[in-house]
Symmetry: C6
Subunit: 77 residues, 6 copies
């Protein structure tokens, strides 16, 4: 995981959103490095409305950063 995030620049907003999802997951991995443990917890959030909304909140915060980094893709895709 040395340089897993070389840039915040993406070609399109869609790709920027995917990167926001990825960033949200990285923080979880860094706090709980055990992949089996994370897999065990998957049903805890994938089947829980409150947890899914909370995930969406994290993604929204990351997307704000990535969108700013890309100057909101105003120059066009």
């Amino acid at each position: 995981m040395d340089n897993w995030l070389p840039t915040l620049v993406t070609a399109t907003p869609s790709e920027g959103y995917d990167l926001a999802v990825k960033l949200a997951r990285i923080a979880v991995k860094k706090t709980q490095p055990d992949a089996d443990e994370r897999e065990r917890m998957r049903p805890d959030y994938a089947g829980d409305a409150d947890a899914l909304i909370a995930v969406s909140q994290v993604v929204a915060t990351n997307f704000a950063t990535i969108a700013a980094a890309n100057d909101y893709w105003r120059a066009g895709a």
Copy 2:
């Protein structure tokens, strides 16, 4: 879902707000791809005040990004 978000630009603040709602839902879909599962959870949040407030928080965060991307629609609709 390849290029589902070609641009953050919308004609009006109302359309920008709708896009913010859409973004909030996309993160949920990407975390819980099973449509039946999501449908099953609908009453969990649609009938729960706390969950609805949390949804509103996610939308507010996304709307901030979209509003900035549109320079707050200052140029007029």
Copy 3:
């Protein structure tokens, strides 16, 4: 609800704050379109300190957007 939000510009910070409250409510309406259901839930949040604080958080986030859109009403009311 076609163009319910024609502009983010308001004459005063007070009106901007009212708009922030309105935005917070719109996300709830779009997620739970049934007015009777929403009315049924009113005591759940209007009488619950945690829910009221959460509402205040959503309003604060929306107010940040609206304040920026109005350049913080620096030009005077």
Copy 4:
């Protein structure tokens, strides 16, 4: 409560912070207009660590807006 917020400009950061606290309370008043009800709930949050932290979060969000409005009081008090 017509024009209760004529400006976001304050003389000092301290006053700006007080205004942030005020803003946090206004959203609560607008959602629960009954003063007796609000007074009844006071022990629910004033004696609860989680609620106090949540209040602090709302104040932090409002303070960010007010600080930006005052250009972070860089010009000096």
Copy 5:
């Protein structure tokens, strides 16, 4: 507590972070002015992982404001 916050400017990011922690505590003090009550609640959050994460969230929000006020200390310490 008249002018307890004369400026948001600090010499280093470390000091800025300390100020962010202080801001987070002030909101709590203003909502619960009784020092004994606050002391009584200390174990409720100092020994609770969820509360500590919530505190960290408030500090992060305040730090964003202070960092912007200091132009991210780009000019060097």
Copy 6:
């Protein structure tokens, strides 16, 4: 912990993200200085999906600050 944060500037987004994680932990340390207590709580959040999502939210907020401080690493790594 005198000058533990000399700068917000990092060479790459990856390092900036690591710094965001570090900032999230510092607030916890400052609120709960007892290392044994913090270690005791580790399973409370490392094995709890909701807590991990909340950690990810704090990291996202800190990353936004650090990304802005680095002008989003637009100049290249």
